[in-house]
Amino acid sequence: MVSVRSVSITPSSLTPSDLRWIIEHREDRCTLCGNCTAICPKGAIRLAHMRQRVPALDVFNKKRGNDYRTFTGIRQETDAAKLCIGCGMCAMVCPNEAITPIPGTNENRTLFFENRKGEPMKRGGRRNATGPTLLDRIVFHRISMLTDPALDAGRHEFTTTTTLGRILSPEEFLERTVSGGWIPPTREIFPFVIGSMSFGALSPNMWLGLLQGVAYCNEVLGLPVVMCTGEGGCPPWILRSQYLKYIVLQIASGYFGWDEIIRAIPEMQCYPAAIEIKYGQGAKPGDGGLLMWHKVSKLIARLRGVPEGVDLPSPPVHQTLYSIEESVMKMLQTLSMAFNHQVPVYPKISASTSAKSVLNNLVRNPYAAGLMIDGIDGGTGAAYNVSMDATGHPIASCVRDCYLELAKYGKQNEVPIFAAGGIGKNGNVAQNGMAMIMLGASGVHIGKYMMQAAAGCLGNEKNRCNVCNLGICPKGITSQNPKLYRRLDPDKVAERVAEVFMSINTEVKKIMAPLGRSQSLPIGMSDAIGIADQAAADRLHIQYIC
């Protein structure tokens, strides 16, 4: 018997069956081409020489013995730093279907070791909550059967745009029209906005592919899609181009990229679609943005005005300000003024039980162009695991409460609410978005869905991949390493963006037509939605159906 001391066992020693993802390798199919080990972003597999016993039978002498042969095979690493993330790139490049990761069915013991060096686990991605979301379960049930003919999604004209920007009350609008007063700027946009993902969090190819797709949607398809930069600025040439009008520039507590933006203002050919001031994020409420050093490349450092290769954590709060009221008041006014009061400026907050109070502040602020609320199912490029998994508030009830609060005072047309966080997380993007719109949102932001649909992001709710923070994105979506992001063809991303929005537009019409709506987006049409869940129906003030 081998003595225990001669085997290397540490407290964190694990076997493959303890892991979240287990590599299944078929030696009989493997040609030892090495593609899988070369592409694995984590180095989770390696070619290894192994020894195998072969029975040696001496039939004539009636003796049994052993022979040994050595062979080269695939071995999975069990070191916590090199754990398989289930991305499946090995299977994607294998010419022979010899290898694939499968989810471990044993308890996931790696969880207990994700705090090496005293550092809790950080990752990118999502909350990892599987199953249908509340939005997935909402159905559109007020079918207009009383009046014939119903609308035809294919033939009739539909208005599928929404308004971004502060809208005056009709009385105020007429009064200011007569007196020549300031009428706040607004934009008619497609209600599905590409959510804030920064140039930095995303690779240059991904970011530019998205923008190229957005421009195509606007200029060729006639769909006024806009995208938000996230905190990290915008390449200088874009700031001075006509494409800026498709972009919502985000400012957050790190003010990254704003040197470039402010410098570019006098040279701008057009104004941006809007300015988003980020106070909070759904995936990691109470936490600032985080771009880990792996991703701070020369280009990113130049855009953000920082040294290369350092962590870029934004503070949780805007340091120069004391409270949200002050922030909202000062920053909205300042930014509105910076763009000559011609650009809508709105805050983004994380969904919270206190969202209504922020909203009440905004209603009284004439410069507030809307409110963007990001729910717990939102994604992020990097955050602490515990923030992502356990902190936050779901989006549906938060937006519904805010909408009903506005409706109580007849202000629901004046301050548009945008919702984000889990829209389309199971693929039902148009259905989820329209459910939010009927709950009271003027539009939705989609981030993860766009990464998955437009660029083939491999992340899922079972913690697959989710290494956006490390800059090793195997698809090149969230990496700043040219070797990785060259895998992603921006033209192909743009093509997918156009396909996605064309399809969303058709599905939106397919949802609106049976409800008898075509002239305006059915914002707050809560009589049209139902859910087979009494508690949720009561909470959201919609119909329980069964």
């Binding site: 308004t163 009709p170 105020e172 609008f173 409706a407 005072y409 007849g410 002239q519």
Partner: protein, 379 residues
């Protein structure tokens, strides 16, 4: 689907004439009820002063009747005339109809020299207060309380109801009559859900369904204007939107069409007042209707109007001659009301039109949304 008929003439006529139009169109609706609005009143047995507000409604029990009369006395409304219908109650389907009333009052002393706005506000207040006097045991239904306007609503075939109230006897005439032939069957039967709807002299009736009802209703409720209440029918908001546009925003009648069915971006880009109308569309976005609807309305000055939904998904037409005009869902309806007209001049409005029959009733005004908007401030 509802059938609608409106007749407007310089000389007062019997509402029964409009019921014949409803009868002509009877294949198109289920005849489940009648809603009637009369404007420009003439009573056979009373010389009516058009400044006196007329209270119309139904007292379903004697108790409810007394409650109503007591309240009016208490508020110091002086009864000037109490119209008595020559009734044939056996023709009425409903059982609990103690009395249909049309009573002309002189307003309390303190309001007699007040501005029209204040007088109207008081009439609205009184009408809503009277509605609240209704109880489950002793229901009281109040249709309108306004000078020179009377209303009747009842369940049953329009012609049969006309016979039951002996509307053919010439006791009651008006210069404008709106009729609609269906109880609201979208939701439960409720007299308040029957078109036409009325608020401060403005009235509309509609065929079709208002799919955008809930967001519009929620927005109007948020305005906290006392009269924006009820909403037993999805079509009541059409009346309130017209009221909001004319009385609250003080916009010209043409704005109504721009509010409920605004032009598209492309169309507004080529409109002489595109900027203003784009702004108007935005601020009144929650009042956009989807249809399918044809909306027929009348105003206190006896103007009549007809507008279609944005896709013209419902039929309606207008025809007539100098002095007499009719609007109906079908051509046979107009034929029944005004046979001696040149039918080749009948007009079916398209999606961009607002048909206006002005009080002089000489000729129609057909106004298009593409035309210049008649508002000096938008110029």
């Amino acid at each position: 689907m509802c059938r609608l008929a409106l007749k407007t003439a310089r000389e007062p006529f019997s509402p029964y004439e409009v019921l014949t139009a409803m009868e002509a169109m009877k294949e198109g609706y289920d005849g489940s009820g009648l809603g009637l609005l009369l404007r420009g009143m003439e009573f056979e047995d009373f010389k009516y002063n058009p400044r006196f507000p007329i209270l119309s409604g139904i007292a379903h029990t004697e108790k409810a009747w007394h409650r109503m009369t007591d309240y009016m006395e208490e508020m110091e409304y002086e009864l000037k005339y109490d119209h008595r219908f020559a009734m044939r109650p056996e023709l009425i389907e409903a059982q609990d109809r103690f009395r249909y009333f049309m009573r002309a009052y002189r307003m309390p002393v303190e309001f007699r020299d007040e501005s029209d706005d204040l007088r109207e506000a008081e009439l609205l207040r009184a009408r809503l207060a009277l509605r609240k006097l209704s109880t489950e045991e002793d229901p009281l239904t109040i249709f309108s309380f306004y000078p020179d306007v009377a209303m009747i609503k009842e369940v049953g075939w329009p012609m049969q109801i006309g016979d039951a109230l002996c509307l053919h006897d010439g006791q009651l005439k008006s210069r404008v009559c709106m009729a609609q032939g269906r109880q609201n069957t979208n939701y439960g039967i409720n007299l308040y859900a029957c078109h036409p709807f009325f608020i401060q002299g403005i009235s509309t009736m509609t065929n079709g369904e208002n799919t955008a009802f809930v967001p519009i209703r929620d927005w109007l409720l948020g305005k906290k204007f006392a009269g924006y209440t009820g909403y037993q029918s999805d079509s009541e908001v059409f009346t309130h939107i017209l009221h909001y546009a004319l009385k609250q925003l003080k916009l010209p009648l043409q704005a109504y069409k721009h509010i409920i069915t605004p032009l598209s971006n492309k169309e507004l880009a080529n409109h002489p007042q595109g900027d203003f109308l784009t702004g108007l569309r935005q601020v009144c976005k929650r009042l956009i209707i989807d249809g399918p609807n044809a909306v027929i309305g009348t105003l206190p000055d006896e103007t009549s109007l007809l507008v279609m939904d944005q896709k013209k998904l419902r039929p309606a037409m207008v025809g007539g001659r100098d002095g007499v005009w009719g609007i109906a869902s079908e051509m046979c309806g107009i034929q029944a009301m005004i046979p001696d007209r040149d039918a080749s001049l009948d007009f079916q409005p398209m999606r961009e039109h607002t048909v206006i029959i002005p009080p002089h009733r000489k000729e129609l005004e057909i106004w298009s949304q593409y035309d210049r908007f008649p508002l000096p401030l938008a110029a």
